[in-house]
C-alpha cells in the first residue's frame, strides 16, 4: 500500500484513475474472451466486436498511460494486492508494474495486437471457428499483458504458462489437420522443457533472497554468491530459450506456422516470442552482474541468429522463411541482452514487432490472394495483382534487412555496435547474419512478387485483399518506418533499465552497406524471369542439403527421444515386469502360499502328534527359563 500511496502522490490528481486504467487494460481482453466463450459463440459479428473492442480499449488506455507517465522518470511503480501469504515465509502479490519498460511493451502488444485483431476480421472470414478464434486471441492478449505487467516471478510464471496454453490453442486452431495438432503439441512440450528450468531458477532465487518481487530483488541480488547467481541467471534464461525459441529449443517455432497467419504474426513473431526477451530485460538486474550468465546468453543468441538465418535461405514456404527470420532476429535480441544491453534488445524487440507483424500479415494477404498457397515457387509477379500488399511487404523487408531510414536499421545498428564494443567474434556473426537476412528476404520478395507467373490458374484468380486487411498493413508499415527515428525509444526505456550511450562512428556507414551486399547477391540470383535455387545449390553443394533440412535438428531430436526415452522406457518396463511384478507382488504371494502349505503339514489331527509337539515346546520353554 505504501507503493500505491507513493505513486498516487507522484502523479497528482489523475494518478488513481490511471492506475485503475492499468487493471482495465489487463482484464478487458479476459472479459472479452470469457463472454465470447460463454455467450456469443454463435453470433460471430458480436464475438469479433467484443474482442476487437477489448484490445482497442486496452490500446487507448495504454496510450493514455504513456502520455501521462512519459514525463515522469518512473522506476518500478507497483500497484498490488496480497494474493498468497504463507506465514512469514512466502508473500505473493498480484499486481501491476507501470514503468517505461512495461508501458513500451503494453503499447507494442496492444498496438500490434489491435492491427492483427482487425486484420483477422478479413482473414478468418467464413471460418467455422470464427468466434473461438477471437476468444483465443483475447485470451492470449490477456496472458501477454499479464506477463508485461507482472510484479513478481510467480505472477510472471503463471501468465507465462497461460501464454503457452493460448499459443497451443491457436497453433492447433485447425485441429482437424493432424500437422496443426502435432505442431501445437510440439510447441507446448518444447516450451515445458524451458519452463521447467525457469521454475527451478525462480525457486532457487527464492531460497537465496526470500522474495519474488521485482522491486525488492535488486537490493538483495548483491548478497547472492556469484556461482549461484550465474546458475539462477542460466536457469531463468532457460525459460526465455523456450519461449523465445532460442537454440537448442527453437524447433517448435517453424512448426507453429501451422496456425492461422494472424496468429503467426501476433504470437510467433511480434509478441509472445518476445516475452522471453522482455522477461530477460525485466530481470536484467539478475543477469547483468554475472559474467558467466551473460557470456552464455550472448553466445546462444549469436548461434541462434546465424543458424536460423542460414536455414531461412533454403526454405520454400513463405511463412517458414519468415519464421526462421523471426528466430534469427530473436537471436539478435537475446545476444544484445547477453552483451549487457537490455535497452538495445527492447529497442529491436519493438521495431521487430512492427515489421515482423507487417511481414506476416503481408504473407497472409498473399496466401489468401492465392487461395491458401504457401509455396513461394508457385507465386510470381504478384506486385501487379496485389500492389498494397507488395508495397507494405517491401517496407517490412527493408526494415527487417536494416536499410536506413527504416526502423530496423536503427535498432539492429545498436546491437551491432554493442557487439563491436564487447565481443568481436559475435560482431562478425551478427554482420554475417545481417547479410544473410537481406539475402533471404531479397530472395522471398523477388520470387514472390517478380519473375513470371508460375501457376497460371492461381495467378489469374489472385486479387488484392479487402480494406479491413490492408489498413492494418498500412498502419504497421508506417510504424515500421518511423519507430526508429531519433532514438526516442531507447531513451524512453533507459529510465527503467541500464542504458549505455553509443556514439556511432565510421562503423555505422559501413554497416549501411551490409544489407546492400545481401540484396545485391539475392538480386543477382533471383531477380530474373525464371529464377531458381539451382545456382546456389551448385555453389553450396552438401551445405545446401544441410540447411534445407534445418541441420537435421528434428531428426536428431527424434532420434534422441526414440533411443534415450525408448531405453529408459524399456528399462522401466523390465524393472516393472521382473522386479516389481515377479519378485515383489509375485514373490509375496508365492511366499505366503508356500508358508501356508508348509504349516498345513503340522495340522495332522493326530492327538499324540499334538501332544508330542506340546511336550517338546514345554520342555524347550522350561529349558530356557530354568537352565539359561
Amino acid at each position: 500500500m505504501n507503493l500505491l500511496a507513493a505513486t498516487t502522490t507522484d502523479l497528482g490528481m489523475n494518478g488513481k484513475h490511471l492506475l485503475c486504467a492499468v487493471w482495465v487494460i489487463l482484464f478487458a481482453p479476459l472479459v472479452a474472451a470469457g463472454s465470447i466463450m460463454l455467450f456469443t459463440q454463435r453470433r460471430k459479428g458480436l464475438s469479433a466486436a467484443l474482442s476487437i473492442g477489448a484490445i482497442l480499449l486496452s490500446f487507448v488506455l495504454s496510450l493514455r498511460l504513456f502520455v501521462a507517465l512519459a514525463g515522469f522518470g518512473i522506476h518500478h511503480q507497483q500497484h498490488a494486492v496480497q494474493w498468497l501469504v504463507v506465514g512469514d515465509l512466502v508473500k505473493i502479490e498480484f499486481g501491476t508494474t507501470t514503468d517505461s519498460l512495461a508501458i513500451l511493451m503494453l503499447l507494442v502488444v496492444t498496438g500490434v495486437g489491435s492491427a492483427i485483431h482487425i486484420y483477422s476480421l478479413g482473414y478468418m472470414k467464413g471460418d467455422p471457428g470464427f468466434s473461438r478464434f477471437f476468444a483465443c486471441l483475447s485470451l492470449f492478449t490477456f496472458s501477454m499483458l499479464g506477463i508485461v505487467l507482472a510484479t513478481n516471478f510467480i505472477q510472471i510464471f503463471i501468465f507465462w504458462e497461460l501464454v503457452g496454453v493460448s499459443s497451443y490453442l491457436l497453433i492447433g486452431f485447425w485441429f482437424e489437420k493432424p500437422s496443426a495438432a502435432d505442431a501445437g503439441k510440439k510447441a507446448f512440450l518444447v516450451n515445458r522443457i524451458g519452463d521447467f528450468g525457469m521454475m527451478l531458477g525462480v525457486l532457487l532465487l527464492w531460497t537465496q533472497t526470500g522474495t519474488f518481487n521485482f522491486a525488492e530483488l535488486p537490493a538483495k541480488v548483491a548478497a547472492i554468491p556469484s556461482g549461484t547467481l550465474a546458475l539462477i541467471g542460466g536457469l531463468i534464461f532457460c525459460g526465455a530459450i523456450g519461449k523465445s525459441a532460442q537454440f537448442p529449443l527453437h524447433v517448435w517455432l517453424p512448426d507453429a506456422m501451422e496456425g492461422p497467419t494472424p496468429v503467426s504474426a501476433l504470437i510467433h513473431a511480434a509478441t509472445m516470442v518476445a516475452a522471453g526477451v522482455y522477461m530477460l530485460c525485466r530481470v536484467s538486474f539478475l543477469i547483468l552482474p554475472s559474467e558467466m550468465a551473460l557470456y552464455i546468453i550472448a553466445w546462444i543468441g549469436g548461434i541462434t541468429a546465424v543458424m536460423a538465418a542460414t536455414i531461412a535461405i533454403a526454405q520454400n514456404d513463405i511463412k517458414r522463411i519468415l519464421a526462421y527470420s523471426t528466430l534469427s532476429q530473436l537471436g539478435y535480441m537475446v545476444m544484445a541482452v547477453g552483451l549487457g544491453g537490455p535497452t538495445q534488445a527492447m529497442f529491436h524487440l519493438t521495431t521487430h514487432a512492427f515489421f515482423k507483424a507487417l511481414l506476416f500479415l503481408g504473407a497472409g494477404s498473399v496466401i489468401l490472394a492465392l487461395h491458401h498457397e504457401q509455396d513461394i515457387w508457385k507465386m510470381g509477379v504478384l506486385w501487379k495483382k496485389t500492389p498494397i500488399t507488395f508495397g507494405t511487404f517491401l517496407i517490412g523487408t527493408l526494415a527487417l534487412a536494416g536499410v536506413p531510414p527504416f526502423s530496423g536499421f536503427y535498432s539492429k545498428d545498436q546491437i551491432l555496435l554493442l557487439a563491436f564494443d564487447h565481443n568481436k567474434s559475435l560482431f562478425v556473426i551478427a554482420v554475417l547474419t545481417a547479410v544473410l537476412t537481406a539475402y533471404y528476404m531479397g530472395r522471398e520478395v523477388f520470387v514472390v512478387f517478380f519473375g513470371q507467373p508460375r501457376d497460371h490458374h492461381a495467378y489469374d484468380h489472385a486479387h488484392e485483399s479487402p480494406l479491413v486487411m490492408t489498413v492494418p498493413l498500412m498502419f504497421l508499415a508506417v510504424l515500421s518506418v518511423i519507430a526508429g527515428w531519433g532514438d526516442k525509444l531507447p531513451e524512453f526505456i533507459a529510465g527503467t533499465i541500464e542504458h549505455e550511450a553509443h556514439h556511432p562512428a565510421l562503423l555505422t556507414t559501413g554497416l549501411i552497406c551490409v544489407p546492400l551486399v545481401g540484396f545485391l547477391l539475392a538480386a543477382a540470383i533471383y531477380l530474373k524471369r525464371d529464377p531458381s535455387d539451382a545456382p546456389v545449390k551448385r555453389a553450396l553443394g552438401p551445405l545446401w542439403t544441410l540447411v534445407e533440412n534445418k541441420y537435421y535438428f528434428d531428426e536428431v531430436y527424434l532420434w534422441i527421444v526414440k533411443y534415450v526415452q525408448g531405453t529408459i522406457a524399456a528399462a522401466c518396463e523390465l524393472f516393472d515386469r521382473w522386479i516389481l511384478q515377479r519378485l515383489g507382488i509375485g514373490g509375496l504371494s508365492f511366499g505366503t502360499d508356500l508358508l501356508g502349505r508348509t504349516v498345513r503339514c503340522l495340522q495332522t489331527g493326530s492327538i499324540p502328534g499334538y501332544a508330542f509337539l506340546f511336550g517338546l515346546g514345554i520342555t524347550v520353554i522350561i529349558y530356557y527359563v530354568v537352565v539359561k
Binding site: 495332522t604 489331527g605 493326530s606 492327538i607 499324540p608 501332544a611 511336550g615
Partner: protein, 100 residues
C-alpha cells in the same frame, strides 16, 4: 536315607511315563489313564516338598488336585463314552477329524 531327590526322581519318572503313554498309546482310555499318572506325579512331588519343608501347604494342594482329578475323570469319561457311541471307536488314529 531317603532324600528329597529320591522322591523327585520317582515323581519325574512317573511324569515321563505319563507323557510317554499319552504320546505312544492309541486308545483314548489308556491315554486318559496316563494323564492321571501325570497328575499323581505332581502330587508326589508336592507331598515330598511338603514333608521336607515342614509345611502343610503342599498337602492341602494335593487334596484339591485329587478333587479336581475326580471331576475331570467324570467329565472326560463321559466325553469318551459319548464319542464311542457316535464313532464306534476310541482309537486316536481314527479320531483325526474335527467334524463328528
Amino acid at each position: 536315607m531317603i532324600t528329597l531327590n529320591h522322591y523327585l526322581w520317582i515323581s519325574g519318572l512317573l511324569f515321563a511315563l505319563g507323557i510317554a503313554g499319552i504320546i505312544i498309546r492309541r486308545n483314548l482310555l489308556v491315554i486318559f489313564m496316563a494323564l492321571e499318572m501325570n497328575l499323581n506325579a505332581a502330587n508326589l512331588a508336592l507331598i515330598a516338598f511338603s514333608k521336607f519343608n515342614k509345611l502343610v501347604d503342599g498337602q492341602v494342594l494335593v487334596f484339591f488336585i485329587i478333587a479336581i482329578a475326580a471331576a475331570e475323570v467324570a467329565v472326560g469319561l463321559a466325553i469318551i463314552v459319548a464319542l464311542f457311541r457316535r464313532q464306534q471307536t476310541v482309537s486316536v488314529d481314527e479320531l483325526n477329524s474335527m467334524r463328528l
